[in-house]
Symmetry: C2
Subunit: 472 residues, 2 copies
Amino acid sequence: MSSALPPDLSAFRDLLDEGGLVTDAASLTRYTHDQRSLMRGETPGVLRPRSTGEVQEIVRLAARSGFGLVPQGGNTSYVGGATPEPGRRQLVVSLERMNRVRSVDATGFTVACDAGTILADAQAAAEASGCLLPLSLGAEGSCRLGGNVGTNAGGLQVLRYGMTRDLVLGLEVVLPDGSLFSDMRTLRKNNIGYDLKQLFIGAEGTLGIITGVVLKLWPAQTQRATAWLQLAARAPIPDIAALIRRETADLASTFELISASSLGLVADMRGADLGLAAGPGGAVLLELSASAQRIPLTEILLGTLEALMEAGHVEDAVLAQSERQRREMWTIRETIPEAEKHAGGSVKLDIAVPTSAVSDFLERAGAVVAEQAPGTRLSFYGHVGDGNIHFNLLVPGGRDRIDFTREVEEGIAHAIYAVAIDLGGSFSAEYGIGRFKRDLLGRYGDPVRLDLLATLKRAVDPTGLMNAGAMT
Amino acid sequence: MSSALPPDLSAFRDLLDEGGLVTDAASLTRYTHDQRSLMRGETPGVLRPRSTGEVQEIVRLAARSGFGLVPQGGNTSYVGGATPEPGRRQLVVSLERMNRVRSVDATGFTVACDAGTILADAQAAAEASGCLLPLSLGAEGSCRLGGNVGTNAGGLQVLRYGMTRDLVLGLEVVLPDGSLFSDMRTLRKNNIGYDLKQLFIGAEGTLGIITGVVLKLWPAQTQRATAWLQLAARAPIPDIAALIRRETADLASTFELISASSLGLVADMRGADLGLAAGPGGAVLLELSASAQRIPLTEILLGTLEALMEAGHVEDAVLAQSERQRREMWTIRETIPEAEKHAGGSVKLDIAVPTSAVSDFLERAGAVVAEQAPGTRLSFYGHVGDGNIHFNLLVPGGRDRIDFTREVEEGIAHAIYAVAIDLGGSFSAEYGIGRFKRDLLGRYGDPVRLDLLATLKRAVDPTGLMNAGAMT
C-alpha cells in the first residue's frame, strides 16, 4: 500500500503513527465534501496528528514540499471553510485525534482543551466540574473547538455570554513557519502588547493552525425557567428583547424568534399538531437560567411576561411546567433545520443587523421576497436578541436544490443583503466567509478593510500556506 | 507669534482652526508630563484636531514632513503610554476637542462616541437614556475613550462586564497611511473576515489613531445591594470569589479586596476611625446590582453572606443600609490611591494571576518582600475577582519617591513578577506597556510572540510613524 504513495506524501506518513495519513478514496470523502454537499473538494491526503509537535512538523514539511494545508475540525462549515480545493494541492490537517480536555479549573472557571475536542465533550467536562461552557449550537455533537474559535462561532446563548471570541482566554497556534505561538494562560486581564490571539479567532485557519484553546466557564446553571411566547401582530422584536433584558436583569440566556412558517414546517414534518402555536407576530422561546436556587426565576419570568403583555407585545404565553415540556419547546426550535430539509431544503442567509433594526429588516426583506420571488416560502428564525436572523428561502417543489441555491445566491440574496447593509448590518453573522462567500466579501467589503486584511495575511503567511482559497 | 514657528509646523497650523496647534512652553507641559511626573517628555507642538478628516490630514502631513505622532486622550497613563520622547521629534495628537457623544441606541444598547469623549460623559449619556456603560475606573472624570480602547482598560466592574475589549462593538481608526478604517457598526455578530478592530484595541496607539468608538451598553441598574466583608484569617480569595459568582447568579458587579494595610492608610489620612474594619484576612467590598426591582437583591446578598460565613470565609459583614452608607464604603475604596500618596507615595505593581491563584500570589509575594525588603510597607487591593491585584510598595519615610521607584523597579519588582509569572500570571494586568514597561516586555515576552508583534507593527506601520517608543 505504502509503495503506491507519491514520495512526497510518504514523508508525511513517516512523521505520523498508524492512521495518521489517510489516502484511500473511500475514506477521503468524509473530509473533502462539506456537510451540505455543496462542494466536493479534493486532496491527496488527510493528516491526523496526535500532538502540537506533530502539527509543527507537518507545517514545516508542507512548506518544504509545496503542499498547502487546510485545517479541519468537525467539517461542519456552512461556507466551505474547511474544504480542500481541486487544483490547489492541499492536504487536510484534521485535528480529530487531538481531542483531549487538558484541564478544568472549577474555582477560576476555565477549561483548557486540545483544539480537536468536540464541543459537547468540552461542555460535559465543564458540567462534571459544576461549571457551564455556554457555547452551544446545533452542531455541538460533532463540531470541534478549533473550528469554533477559527470561525468565532455564535449559537444559542450569545445574548448573555457572547460569541466564541468573548469566551477565549488562551490559544495555542502553529504559525505558517512552524513556530508555536503559545498563550494558553487562564488570565482574565493581561495587557502586554497586542492581544495576538485575537488575530486567529475568526481567521478561519488562514493564519495558522489552532492546536489548543482556553475558554471561560461560568457557574453551572442549577435552575431554568422557560416560556413559549405568542407575539402580537407587528410586535416590535427590538423592544421586546430590550424589555426582557431589563426586566430579567439579564438572566435571560436564550431569546429565539421562530416564525409561524418555520413552526409550520416542523408540524408538517411531524404530521401532528405541535401543541404550541405562533401568534400573529411569530413565537419566541425564552429561557432564564441561574446558578443558585435562591433566585426566584419563575417569579421573574412571570413578572416579565406580565410586562410584555401589558405592553401589548405578547398575546399569550406558555410556561414550561416540567423538564419534559421544556425539552419539547427546545426540540421544536432545534428541529427547524431538519424540517426545512424535509420540505425540500432551503437556501440559508445568515443575516446580522443592529438589534434595534430586526423588525425593520424582517419587514423590508419580506417585501423584497414578495416582490422579486412571489410565492417563495420563507423560514426565518434565530438569535434575534443579538440581531442575528437565519433568513431562509425554501426550495420550491420540483426545483433542484443546488440549482435553486445558485439562483438565489446570484440573485435575490443580494437584494436581501442590501437591506441588511442599508440597516448597518452584515451578510454573515456567524457562518463566516469560507469559500462560498468570498465574492461577497469583495463585493461588500470596504476597500481599506480588505487592504488591511490582505496586509495581515501577507505579513503572517507570506507564502499562502494556510487554507488558501478561504476568505482571503 | 506665528512667524516664530518652524515652517514645517506652520503647515499643521494651516490645517487646523484657532487653538488647533499648541506650541508655547507653558501650555505644553500638560501634554508632555505624565500624570505621576515620572517622565518629562518633549514635543515641538500639540495638534488638537476637531474631526476625523483633520486627523487624516495630520497623519498624511506628518508622514511627509518627517514627524512622528503620539496620540493622546486624557493623558492618564500609568506607564508613559502617551508621552512624546525627547529626541524623537514627535507631535502629540490630542483628541480632546473630538469629544462628542454621537448617538445612543437605548433599544439596541449601544453608544457611539468620538474617541476624545471623556469616559464620565459617555457614562452620563448612557444613563440619560436608561442605560449603563459599565466601564468604570478611577480616572473616569478625565480619561478619554480612545485611551480606554487603546489600553484595553479594565477597572471596577470587569468581573461582570469584562474589559474594554469586551465592550467594543465598533471602531474608527486613522491608519498610518492616512486612510480611514471605519467599522462603526453596532453589530453584536459579524463574521466577515479578520476582526480587524481587535488589532487596535490595546495597541496603545502604535498602529493608528482611534477617532471613534461604539460600545455595548446594558440596561441601567435600578437597584444595588452592597456589603463590607471582614475576611477570616487565611480566607481563600479564589474560593470566596467563586462562591459569590455562583450564589449571586453572577449579579455581583464588584468584588474589591482591600488589605488591612490599605485600610490603615485611609484611616491615617483621615485621622479618624473609619467605622469599618478589615478582618484578619482583609476586607472585601461586594456589590450586587440589577436592572429590575423585582429581583430580590438584598435577600440574594444576605443568602450569599450566610453561605460565606457558614464556609468559614467571612467573620462579619456590614450591609449598607442607605445610599449614604454605600457611598462611604466606596469612598474608602476609592481613597486608597490618595491615601498612598499622603503616606509618601507608592510604587505600583499591576499584577494579574489566574483567579484561582490570587491567594497563592499574595502569600508568596508577601514573603518575597518580607525577605528581600524587610520593613517595607505594602498596600494591596484590587479587582481580585478577575485575578488583578494592585500590589504596591510604600515609599519608606525619608526616601525620595522617584529614587525608590527606580530601586524597586530594577530590583524587587522582578522577584514579585517572577512569582506572578510562575503562577501563570503577568506583570501588567491593566496598565499596559507604554514606555515604562518596554524592558519587561522584552524580558518576559516569549520570542515567538514578540516576533509576531513586530511583524504586525512593521506590516501596518512600516515607517514607525505611530507612537514610536511605546510598546514596540
